[in-house]
């Protein structure tokens, strides 16, 4: 992880983003899972950056600086590169085992 991504993860923790959001399905249940939000063609980094300070009905308006927004996006970009969730191309075998797709 780059220095910028680690700073982004620090911000993720200090604002307890995991209370609402999941990474790999682990975390809170109120907001969407963000594992592959950056590579999502309908969303992506600008979408994430816009939401950070605008908030939603249930999400508070954070007051991140431009640099902080870049760091959070850098963290989520790194997470995105590590794998898939949901793992849509996973192969479910008849014996119950699941072969997941790796990046």
């Amino acid at each position: 992880m780059s220095k910028s991504s680690i700073n982004g993860e620090d911000l993720w923790q200090k604002n307890n983003c995991a209370a609402c959001h999941q990474l790999y399905g682990l975390g809170g249940y109120l907001g969407p899972d963000l594992t592959n939000i950056i590579s999502d063609t309908l969303k992506g980094d600008k979408y994430v950056a816009a939401f950070l300070n605008s908030g939603t009905k249930s999400m508070p308006k954070f007051h991140f600086s431009e640099r902080e927004k870049e760091e959070i996006v850098a963290f989520l970009t790194h997470v995105d590169k590590t794998g898939f969730y949901p793992n849509k191309n996973a192969r479910i075998r008849k014996d119950g085992w699941v072969e997941i797709e790796y990046k």
Partner: protein, 458 residues
């Protein structure tokens, strides 16, 4: 006379439970009123208030029970009451600082330990104090330990390790590798819960042997076999939490095999214990007995759920849904809380200082709690199925929440019932426990008694 702090842990635990379920109710409201409380305390601060307090309930009440049982039931001389006093003082201070840290947005830790990370040091210190006191007391006085002593001892030792492990993210070698980091984090949580289960299941086993007045059930081969299976599960059976993370496949194979066995053995022990119980034993400790039997029922339900969730092809769909929450609520309330309520009921039944209790009200509260928990548990499964049906990609979107609003309204209503039912049990327990705590904290000397009698006669 030296002061005894054991029941203060339980009193603090019960208060933490009341606060924890109150915050649980508040966070559920956000699902139907998205802006609820947002400008006062937003969801990212409300949720850790709920989780921190309910985890504190389980841990504090288990610790208090162990301190109480070894001193007052087993009549062992505690190695150091001073150390126990400092243990309580540290946890009391931490219990005040954690909400301050969360409500003032001074967070920084990971999920379930979101408070400012430096607080992990006094928490660990408390566990070390407890461990020294426990092992020094037991090694000195008891030979041929029954299984519950081993379970408590193992639970304390592994709690120290896994609590430390959950903070490995502070080291660069973990922090710089996201997959390694998230896997170790969630592995530590599985093992951390396994450690407190050792304390709580040890308490269940202790209560069974006391109610039956037969320590043999805690010395049998099956019991020790179960204990080692529990320990294996604690160390290796966590990987079904992380099936979907791109880690090595062997980790998932190991978890798959191990998680199938532990619960079956536990049910077998409880079942054999119940069959051999005489009628008079049942009535002597009726509330403790009822709560232990309720935990048996919840073990069964959660066994079925855990078995299915540990099959990777089922876990693929249930992971990240409210079915996982149903499993955690079933185990923390259905199993852990029932056993801890049994422990508090048992302690209250042993004390002459407790006031007369209303049996009808207690019975009503007991069935109300189990009934409301059952409906709440079913509702979480329904929400999980709805999320699976909608597909994980859509989950969490505002439009999806709006389209499922009716289900969330029912969910919040069942949460309200559960909240009321827990209060109906916890508040009378606080009320009845408080004078016993005072007696243990300020024990009367013989001279005090003489003065009291003389004063009454005059």
């Amino acid at each position: 006379m030296k002061r005894d702090f054991s029941l203060l842990f339980i009193l603090l635990g019960l208060i933490a439970l009341v606060i924890g379920v109150l915050f649980g109710l508040l966070i559920s409201m956000v699902y139907i009123f998205p802006g609820f409380f947002k400008d006062i305390v937003p969801f990212n601060q409300l949720r850790p208030m709920h989780t921190s307090f309910v985890i504190s309930w389980i841990i504090l009440t288990a610790i208090g029970g162990i301190y109480y049982y070894i001193q007052h039931e087993e009549k062992l001389q505690l190695f150091s009451r001073e150390l126990a006093k400092w243990h309580f003082a540290i946890y009391f201070a931490v219990a005040l600082i954690i909400p301050f840290s969360l409500l003032t947005n001074k967070m920084g830790g990971r999920e379930y330990l979101e408070f400012t990370p430096v607080l992990i040091l006094p928490i660990l210190m408390g566990w070390v104090f407890f461990g020294i006191n426990y092992y020094k007391t037991l090694f000195k006085s008891v030979k041929n330990w029954p299984a519950y002593y081993w379970m408590w001892g193992i639970g304390i030792a592994f709690m120290i390790f896994h609590l430390s492990e959950s903070n490995f993210w502070m080291f660069d070698s973990f922090r710089k590798d996201f997959i390694k980091d998230i896997s170790v984090q969630w592995k530590s949580y599985g093992s951390f819960v396994g450690s407190w289960n050792m304390l709580v299941y040890g308490t269940a086993l202790y209560l069974m042997s006391k109610i039956k007045d037969d320590v043999k059930i805690a010395r049998g081969r099956t019991t020790f076999f179960f204990m080692f299976l529990g320990l294996t599960n604690l160390m290796f059976g966590w990987a079904h939490h992380t099936y979907i993370i791109p880690t090595q496949p062997w980790i998932r194979y190991v978890a798959y095999a191990i998680s199938m066995t532990e619960w079956i053995i536990f049910i077998k022990i409880v079942w054999s214990w119940r069959k051999s119980l005489s009628k008079s034993d049942k009535t002597t400790n009726s509330m403790a007995y009822r709560f232990i039997l309720a935990s048996d029922f919840w073990v069964f339900l959660n066994l079925v759920m855990a078995l299915f969730m540990s099959i990777p092809s089922v876990n693929y769909y249930t992971h990240g849904t409210h079915i996982t929450v149903a499993h955690s609520m079933g185990t923390t309330i259905g199993i852990n809380t029932m056993i801890l309520f049994a422990s508090v009921s048992f302690i209250l039944s042993r004390s002459k200082a407790s006031c007369k209790n209303n049996q009808v009200f207690q019975k009503f509260s007991f069935y109300f709690l189990n009934g409301s928990l059952f409906i709440f548990w079913l509702m979480l499964i329904v929400l999980g199925l709805l999320k699976i049906d909608a597909g994980n990609a859509a989950a969490g979107s505002a439009s999806l929440l709006e389209s499922q609003a009716i289900y969330y309204i029912v969910f919040v209503f069942t949460g309200l019932l559960l909240f009321i039912s827990i209060l109906l049990i916890a508040i009378p327990m606080i009320y009845r426990l408080e004078p016993i705590c005072t007696t243990l904290l300020y024990p009367k000397t013989i001279q005090d008694e003489i003065d009291f009698i003389e004063e009454a006669e005059n």
